[in-house]
Amino acid sequence: MTAAAEELPRVADPPPPPRRLLRRLLRPLVLFVTNLVLLSALVFFGAEVLPGNIGRLLLGRTADQRSVDVLNHELGADRPIVVRYLSFLNGLLHGDLGTSLALRQPNSQLLSAALLNSVKLAALAFVIVVPLALLGGVLAALRRDTWVDRTIIGVGVALTVLPEFVTGLILILVLSLGLKLFPVTAAAPPGSGFGTQLYYLVLPALPLVIVLFGYLAKLARTGTITALDSDYHRTAVLKGLPARVVVTRHVLRNALLPTISVLGTQAGYLIGGLVVVEILFNYRGIGSLIFMAAQNKDIPLLEVGVLTVGVAYMLLSSLSDLVAGLLDPRVRTR
């Protein structure tokens, strides 16, 4: 089979029989649940190897051992780990996310507030970086091997290697302390409107944009170049279609598939992996919540925090697969 034949749109397969359809729907669900159970066990038992115990960590190294023992008993941290794990799972199955051992607050409250904050920041970063990176990547591909291509990809990739705390600090020094354009924190005053919240989030979103831009732009460039080199692109050009139509209808649709697949996992990172940015900009997101829980050996909070991020990863990956399927019939029929 030739390459051209592979890339030609295929006639859709006949609809699958009901049994196959059920299996197709159930398989990801089973995988999803299995992954979550494995993840929860990994976190729970893995956290046991963290040094110290919660009583000692909360009361400090100079506390009397009697005080530490009393606190561990109050928190139930002196029970066998299997008992604690089963108790946690039982609660989870009954819709109870448990209580933070350190903060003595329902995990659901702590988590919902932090998750909302993380989603806001991730969404803003995404809204900025995705169009920018796609535009940059496509432009670089269309101007392949020119200074435009080299500048976009060169600068983008160079910025990718800068850690967020470096770019974050530079941005604070220049844009906040120097030019006084933005506040130094991401947390808007209580009761702020949408516009104010957005304003406070712009600066923290920029280090994330900088980290992701180069990677996504390079993916978009590679996909676009592959599409530009394809036979269907040549055919479309030879048919006399306007360049804009060729690019938007034939090139982009195929070029962006790899990028879209990657966006799902990157969105997961943006929600759960922003500890440094959250600490730097004093923002209470889910990343710093998980970090604090790990530091305090607050296992119930750590567990639900990690599971939430895990669910977010899985859902967003599934979403990106869905979008990829909508754009590419080959994915749908696979």
Binding site: R61, V70, N282, L289
Partner: protein
């Protein structure tokens, strides 16, 4: 020379004071106590600040004492809100259990103690008007201030005080103050009698008032029937500010208490806002970016930029906050005191203090007794670098070729840099030190022998927070049975001197015992104490009256906005 009027005044004072207080006055007159030390010693024995001031005035004709930390430089404006950067409390704030800086700063806005440990004048009476020991120093009687009400309107009584302190001394409650009271005050030792509270101690303790002052940050006075686990719902207290709001992990706000009992210390501020930060650098940036007005408890390295910026006022408070390098006396080659002393003599302390802290601290002398603590004998020689003697000591110990060892250290502030400084100093005498820096939680572990790199390593560095009196550190880190004795130092002579020190009510004898301990530690050298750090903070220019306390509290009762 004291004037005739002064002598008459002193005679009048002597008629009002106890024998122990009389001793302190004698020490002052003999020149063995400075003005500041006199104030500290006199207040701990229960002499009121006005009375102690009268003694100093009689001696010199001048108004006594240095300006308290945080005293305003000019007229202060009333009203407004002060925004403070504070470390995020790591746990639910419960006065009985609180152990972190963020928690105790937050509690301190509404809560009050029997006395407040002031950085310059010693103990300032707050909810206790005065106190006095019996002749043995084992029974202490505190007169509880009358006319004080809790924020819910209920009167604060001696019964509330007794219940609060007894709650802390009861092991069943798992109080974080148990380590402070250990061996001194047990459950049942605190009894209310009328308007007085009588403490019957397990053993005599001349420094007992410190243990129920703000130095023991768990000892905020609460109503007798209060449930401390519900504290974050109302932040009950008697202080100058009352609770307005609290969001875990985000911040807290307090407003002026219109019914505050102390008419001479009415707050200027209408509102105090605490913003929580999980790390120090964002707090510094927040001050620079005008998100907050005050930062406190910062390290020199992270706050360096603030201390030279004219837009901010730097705050320095001398303290006994320190670092300690322990060398295990039960493990070769440190079983030989000459080896330990050689390492101690290799260190250039002034250079370390300058290089690591830009001189924001005091030199250490290889004992836990700091220059801010009243019993420290300042006539003891200051250890200085002496490389020739250090090499000779190593040769005498059969280690002229040097040896290899590892310093274990936590990743806390400048401690890793101090480890490098010690490594370089050791190199000067041919000793090869490796460094093993660990995250604090890994390093401290369970904080018990056999389960803690801090307590088990051959050489280990540790940080000790400020204590107004050295009792806890001198006991736990150096006594043979000390629970933090990382040096595994076993000295019956030291143990006996410590017991002697804690049982003395007489200042001169107490100082004599401490002096002997200091000299013994210099001779045995189980630990190296390079310096004592200043407690640091900074405010926006124009902010006045912020009173930093090296214990960690942030007293804003007399603060005002810019």
């Amino acid at each position: 020379m004291i004037s005739r009027l002064g002598i008459r005044r002193l005679d009048g004072v002597r008629a009002q004071v106890s024998a122990a207080e009389g001793h302190v006055i004698d020490e002052l007159l003999a020149g063995r106590l400075g003005r500041r030390e006199f104030l500290r010693r006199a207040t701990v024995l229960g002499m009121s600040i006005p009375l102690a001031g009268g003694v100093l005035a009689a001696c010199s004709g001048a108004v006594p004492g240095d300006a308290p930390a945080g005293q305003a430089a000019g007229p202060q404006q009333a009203g407004g809100a002060l925004r403070n950067a504070v470390n995020t409390p790591t746990a639910a704030i419960n006065p009985v259990k609180v152990a972190d800086n963020g928690g105790l700063v937050t509690m301190g806005q509404t809560g009050e103690y029997l006395a407040y440990t002031d950085s310059s004048t010693g103990l300032r009476p707050v909810l206790a008007e005065r106190w006095a020991p019996d002749a043995t120093g084992r029974i202490w009687t505190f007169d509880i201030r009358q006319g004080v009400t809790f924020h819910n309107g209920a009167p604060m009584t001696a019964a509330d005080v007794a219940a609060t302190i007894d709650r802390l001394a009861d092991p069943a409650n798992g109080s974080n103050a148990l380590s402070v009271f250990k061996g001194v005050l047990s459950k049942g030792g605190t009894v209310a009698k009328g308007n007085q509270v009588v403490f019957t101690l397990d053993r005599p303790s001349v420094n007992f008032p410190y243990l129920v002052s703000s130095q023991n940050y768990n000892a905020i006075i609460l109503p007798a029937s209060y449930d401390p686990s519900q504290y974050t719902k109302d932040f009950m207290g008697t202080g100058p500010f009352t609770f307005a709001s609290y969001t875990p992990g985000v911040g807290a706000a307090f407003v002026k208490n219109p019914a505050y009992w102390d008419t001479s210390r009415q707050p200027f501020l209408d509102r105090v806002e605490l913003k929580y930060y999980s790390d120090l650098p964002p707090q510094i940036v927040a001050l620079q970016g005008n998100e907050v007005d005050v930062v406190s408890g910062i390290s020199y390295a992270s706050g360096r930029g603030l201390f030279t910026d004219p837009n901010f006022t730097a705050l320095y408070v001398p303290s006994s906050y320190t670092r300690q390098l322990s060398m295990r006396c039960d493990q070769a080659p440190f079983t030989d005191p000459r080896v330990r002393m050689a390492l101690a003599l290799a260190l250039d302390r002034p250079a370390a203090l300058k290089g690591l802290l830009n001189d924001k601290g005091d030199l250490g002398d290889d004992s836990p007794f700091g220059p801010t603590q009243p019993a420290t004998d300042k006539t003891v020689e200051q250890r200085a670098q002496d490389l020739a003697k250090a090499k000779q000591l190593l040769a005498d110990a059969g280690q002229s070729a040097g040896f290899d060892a590892t310093i274990a250290a936590p990743r806390v502030q400048e401690i890793p840099d101090l480890a490098v400084t010690l490594q370089n100093a050791a190199k000067e005498i041919g000793v090869r030190l490796a460094i093993n820096v660990q995250a604090p939680n890994d390093y401290y572990g369970d904080a018990t022998f056999g389960a803690s790199p801090w307590l088990d390593s051959t050489m280990s560095l540790v940080d000790y927070g400020h204590r107004s009196v050295p009792d806890v550190i001198a006991n736990a880190s150096l006594r043979s049975d000390g629970v933090w004795n990382a040096a595994h130092y076993k000295s019956p002579a030291y143990d006996a001197l410590y017991d002697d020190y804690t049982s003395q009510l007489d200042v001169a004898k107490q100082k004599e015992a401490v002096g002997k301990m200091q000299r013994l530690l210099l001779a045995d050298s189980p630990i190296i104490v390079p310096y004592f750090l200043n407690w640091l903070g900074a405010t926006k220019k124009g902010v006045q009256g912020v009173n930093l306390n090296p214990t960690g509290q942030l007293d804003l009762s007399r603060a005002s906005t810019a």
